[in-house]
């Protein structure tokens, strides 16, 4: 199984678009660090360090739109792309059951996505540190959310919860990639889903505010992709407990994985 996962990781990483995504993330980190420096200079705020802000890097828009969008580009065609290029045939005539191949692709995609988020965090930390100072992880998060827990603990919890969110995002994308036959269409669908979901969150919040009976919509899988926001009180579903949100994410993730494996298990490979 480790060999299979290694195969999948190397296939994702060897593609040119992975390098493009890494370059984009690096540039984003540098630009946002320069922007942070300018804001500090203008507002003459209390100095906030890289250690104090790095945890919030995986909350809000990053968790809801940026990361899912980048994952869609990197791994959206992990199944469909192999159908389009014809390599799936040679993959499926090895003495490895289909569910193992599905799972190795899923875990490979998950590990690459985690690595991308961690790289983004490290890059931001380095760029912010160089720009506004590295600071100490033992200092209180303080800053914009005025939280007394240490910045290090906030960062660890935020990234831990973001891993759960990534697992959910990847499970949806894997299902789409399993069902769709064209690699380009699969990437397009995953990226569109990321955009549509990020737009739907504020709309759903508004609907629930004016009609509390519609609260069931909050059980939608993408509503909980910002679960890491719990650590700095930026999670949009403020009436939800962390456990409730994680259980909802887990149920959806299991359903998506089960559907993906079941479809792949019986899929005819014609291309």
């Amino acid at each position: 199984m480790i060999g299979l996962i290694y195969n999948e990781i190397t296939k994702v990483v060897a593609q040119r678009r992975f390098a493009v995504v890494i370059i984009i993330l690096t540039l984003l980190a540098v630009v946002s660090a320069l922007a942070a420096r300018s804001i500090h200079g203008l507002q003459q705020m209390e100095p906030i360090t890289a250690a104090q802000t790095i945890g919030s890097g995986v909350t809000g828009g990053a968790a809801q739109l940026l990361f899912p969008f980048l994952f869609a580009i990197i791994i959206g065609d992990i199944f469909a792309g192999e159908l389009t290029s014809g390599t799936m045939k040679l993959l499926l005539i090895r003495p490895v059951s289909r569910w193992k191949i599905w799972l190795s692709k899923f875990l490979g995609a998950f590990l690459v996505s985690v690595a991308v988020v961690l790289y983004c965090g490290l890059c931001s930390y380095a760029a912010l540190g160089a720009s506004i100072g590295f600071g100490s992880f033992s200092a209180p998060e303080g800053g914009i959310y005025n939280i007394t827990t240490s910045a290090g603990m906030i960062t660890l919890r935020a990234y831990g919860l973001e891993m759960c969110s990534i697992l959910s995002v990847i499970s949806v994308f894997m299902l789409i990639s399993t069902v769709v036959e064209s690699g380009v269409a699969a990437v397009g669908l995953c990226a569109s889903l990321a955009v549509v979901c990020s737009m739907a969150v504020p709309i759903i919040k508004f609907i629930v505010t004016i009609s509390p009976r519609a609260r069931w919509i909050e059980y939608a899988f993408f509503e909980h992709w910002q679960v890491a926001g719990v650590v700095n009180k930026s999670f949009p579903l403020d009436s939800w407990t962390l456990t409730g949100s994680l259980v909802t994410l887990a149920v959806w993730t299991i359903l998506f994985i089960a559907a993906g494996v079941a479809i792949f298990q019986i899929k005819d490979v014609k291309g």
């Binding site: 014809g86 040679l90 993959l91």
Partner: protein, 311 residues
């Protein structure tokens, strides 16, 4: 007789897409050490049959066992001794030839770098194996496809159109390699090809598929011997062909440029000559033709095509 199970035992396999039957009740057996040819016109159902044999698609009905293991219910054990190319051997373009082979080697336990090197040497790619696939010609990709199929010394090799893109020397080498693997290693080979000359040169037995059905199956000699074949040069080709067909002669080839046609039958040629002459058709030449697999193939597929003629 040996108790060893057949390398391939396909029993009444069918595959339908909606109302269209791509393969209908096809049955054949490939024995260990045998080179078996699967031939048929484009769209006859050869590749669909091969996809079912390697488990890429599920038969609508029928069963397939590889060395006694059902491909659907015992997939891993059934596919374990199999190496295959299905249509074009597409590889990962962003990898080198070597990384492609390493990728497939990781999917089977115990394949060493030495084994990979041996397979690479066998297909003649040693000098170019570290280059990216994008720099490979179609023939080189085909060779790499064969290398990935033989990495683990399979007991059954399935080659779907393996000569696509190969130059004449490559085709010759492939033929020799197939015979060598069958004769010295006891490997069973299922070979699907359009190049009937190559099939005739290497196969022990063949099955002819047309319109998704098995039209004929048997040893190579049963195809290349049998009905007599004659080439006739005549004055009114079209009328002569009609008369021949109405007298139960099968038209193997219609040679419009030379006003000639080739026909096969178990009847005496003198009878056909008499009919043509009585109808006022001048027969300037009749010559006996050595029957090749191509003749047998055209005869079988034409007679199954409502008497159609291959031009």
């Amino acid at each position: 007789m040996t108790d060893e199970p057949a390398a391939i035992n396909a029993v009444n396999i069918s595959k339908s897409y909606g109302s269209r039957k791509a393969v209908a009740d096809v049955s054949f057996q490939v024995r260990p050490g045998e080179v078996f040819g699967l031939i048929g016109p484009n769209g006859a159902g050869k590749t669909t049959a091969i996809r079912m044999i390697v488990g890429l698609i599920r038969p609508t009905s029928g069963s397939i066992a590889l060395f006694g293991h059902d491909i659907q219910h015992d997939f891993e054990r059934a596919i374990s001794p199999v190496g295959a190319i299905v249509e074009n051997p597409e590889m990962y373009k962003y990898f080198s030839g070597w990384r492609n082979l390493k990728h497939y080697a990781r999917m089977r336990p115990g394949i060493t770098n030495d084994q990979i090197n041996k397979a690479v040497a066998l297909v003649g790619l040693t000098d170019r194996i570290n280059e990216k696939i994008t720099r490979y010609s179609l023939g080189m990709r085909q060779r790499l496809g064969i290398a990935q199929a033989i990495l683990h010394n399979p007991k059954l090799l399935i080659l779907d159109e393996p000569t696509n893109g190969l130059d004449p020397q490559g085709i010759q080498e492939l033929r020799q390699m197939i015979r060598h693997l069958a004769d010295t290693e006891g490997m069973a080979v299922l070979l699907s090809s359009h190049l009937l000359h190559d099939v005739q040169a290497v196969c022990d037995s063949i099955a002819v598929i047309n319109f998704g059905r098995t039209v004929a199956e048997g040893s190579m000699s049963s195809f290349t011997q049998g009905k007599a074949i004659y080439r006739l040069v005549v004055s009114e080709r079209n009328r002569a062909i009609s008369l021949s067909q109405s007298n139960k002669w099968t038209i193997v080839k219609d040679d419009k440029t030379e006003d000639a046609f080739t026909a096969a039958s178990e009847q005496e040629i003198s009878g056909l000559n008499e009919i043509l002459v009585k109808a006022g058709i001048k027969v300037s030449r009749i010559e006996g033709v050595n029957r090749s697999l191509e003749d047998a193939f055209l005869e079988l597929t034409n007679s199954n095509n409502q008497g159609g003629i291959v031009e």
